[in-house]
Symmetry: C2
Subunit: 329 residues, 2 copies
């Protein structure tokens, strides 16, 4: 039940398949939530209406009115124009130049903060999770691609009117395979969950991964993090080797990040890491230490994300609060 003397904040996560809104009280305790499928294929106009409907449902669930809300933060895929609160292009949704901030502000009246979805997740881990209160936190999230974000001295590190930390696109293996942006040898091309699934499907097809073959077959769409983790744990040596190779490339990216930014904490998250943290994190750490200058080996630590799927939506709400407080200064 809402208290009129409190501030309320909304976090929104706009994903490729689902959208989620959560209403928080001033202590970021969740009071109510709602979710729907995103249905990008129905078009942008329909999508913006669905977003508003989800916000209304979450408010209803929390028993909070729009007037009591101080701000909403929304984590979005794709390159953004932060100033104009636009999604420039969301390839997963098929939408272009989405005036998402304006649309929500017009409907509800409270200020909207637009953020990159990975940035929102990293900010969530900084505020409430594995990077709590640290001076410099870098997040690395291997999934279909590999997302990254950085919180430096309490704020998202940002590019010129854009988000940055596109860690999946840095080069780690010149001449390597192509990634989703047609670049060769990017981190994403050699270490994303999708790449690992692809290489593991080959291994299964060749008879090198019987457990994986048994559980998920050779269709990449079916080879999810859980199946990969099971395969490694049940003894598919080829899949274990593929995962270790991916860890070595992730370690190259860790070394690059440490050499450039010397962060206090690198938070690893995403389904693959969550499915086998004990396999991957020590391997990444071991390989990274070999690649880092001695003077920088003791300045950072590698930790597992703590908030799972909540990181993005909590982080988005916290970013909204920070933006409103900044604008009131």
């Amino acid at each position: 039940m809402a208290d009129d003397n409190q501030d309320y904040w909304i976090g929104f996560d706009l994903g490729g398949t689902k959208m989620l809104a959560v209403v928080y009280d001033h202590k970021f305790k969740p009071l109510g939530k709602a979710r729907k499928k995103t249905k990008g294929s129905e078009g942008m106009e329909a999508g913006l209406k669905r977003i508003n409907a989800v916000i209304n449902e979450a408010l209803d669930d929390a028993d909070v009115s729009a007037k009591q809300v101080k701000g909403l933060g929304i984590g979005c895929p794709g390159p953004l124009n932060l100033k104009k609160k636009l999604i420039r292009t969301a390839p997963n949704l098929g939408w272009e130049n989405v005036p998402i901030g304006e649309s929500i502000e017009k409907e509800f009246g409270f200020p909207v903060t637009v953020a990159n979805d990975v940035d929102a997740g990293v900010f969530g881990e900084y505020q409430f999770g594995a990077g709590k209160g640290k001076r410099c936190v870098v997040g690395i999230f291997p999934g279909t691609g590999i997302g990254g974000g950085c919180v430096y001295e309490g704020k998202l590190f940002r590019g010129a009117n854009c988000s940055c930390m596109e860690i999946g696109h840095i080069s780690v293996l010149p001449g390597g395979a192509i990634d989703g942006a047609n670049n060769h040898g990017s981190l994403e091309s050699v270490a994303s969950r999708l790449t690992i699934a692809g290489q593991s499907a080959l291994a299964a097809y060749r008879g090198q991964a019987p457990h994986l073959m048994n559980k998920a077959g050779t269709d990449i769409s079916n080879i999810r993090s859980g199946a990969l983790s099971d395969s490694v744990k049940k003894g598919d040596q080829a899949v274990k080797k593929i995962v270790e190779d991916a860890c070595e490339y992730l370690a190259v990216s860790v070394a690059t990040v440490v050499h450039l930014l010397a962060p206090d904490v690198i938070v690893f998250g995403g389904g693959l890491i969550e499915a086998m943290p004990d396999v991957m994190l020590p391997e990444i750490q071991k390989q990274a230490q070999k690649k880092i200058l001695p003077a920088l080996r003791d300045v950072y630590e590698i930790v597992e994300a703590e908030l799972g799927d909540d990181a993005g939506v909590m982080g988005a709400a916290a970013l909204a609060k920070q933006a409103v407080e900044e604008s009131n200064k």
Copy 2:
């Protein structure tokens, strides 16, 4: 002639071969300077005395007394402990745990700010040169090694109690040659002035670089930036190719920096760049654009450093001023 109503600042550049002190007025106009050879081999104690002597000479030259000085900034080689104002280790000088801040403060009474020498140079370019007033400036300086620095929203981007932006040590060619830290395939190992000199010496020896052979021979110590530039301009195709290959690796590092930080400006400096900016900068730019995500290709520009050797000493003085102003807040 000094004016009692003004603030005076000192910039100090502690190099491997020479040390330089400059006294500035409140508008950062140089009033006097002094320099000496560093003579690292005479030991740390002797070195600290020489530093104080150079400061005294610069004060004398400027006709300013130590009491009129608000602060001194010193750019130092090697990994530092910024809080304790120590040089942890200066391999070029053979000194360890150098209490450089304390030593100067004790002698003169004004506050000392210790900075990494490349950081000081980048801060100089940010305050007074090619990156003036930009939100995010990254400097890349290929020399014997390859130094880097970043000024973000008016301040040096720093690691946990250390400087960072060790761009020379990021991996760009797995399996490449070793660098000065015994790492394989770092940017430094494939694109430093020293590496270019080494490869060009081979080319000269093989008869592929007659102009270079004629001017500098095959001793790497003699193959300086000027000789390399002459060789390229006079038509040594092998040296031109070596320089272009180095530019391609520098472009990899530019792409990494843009993907991670999306800076407004990347300032390239150092002797090699100064000797042939028209050869190198367009090549770096062209190669980098191919490697950068389309959404980030228009956010940054590559520019040549403007201040040359003055950047470090001016930047150090400006850092001292910033530190004093911060501490007075």
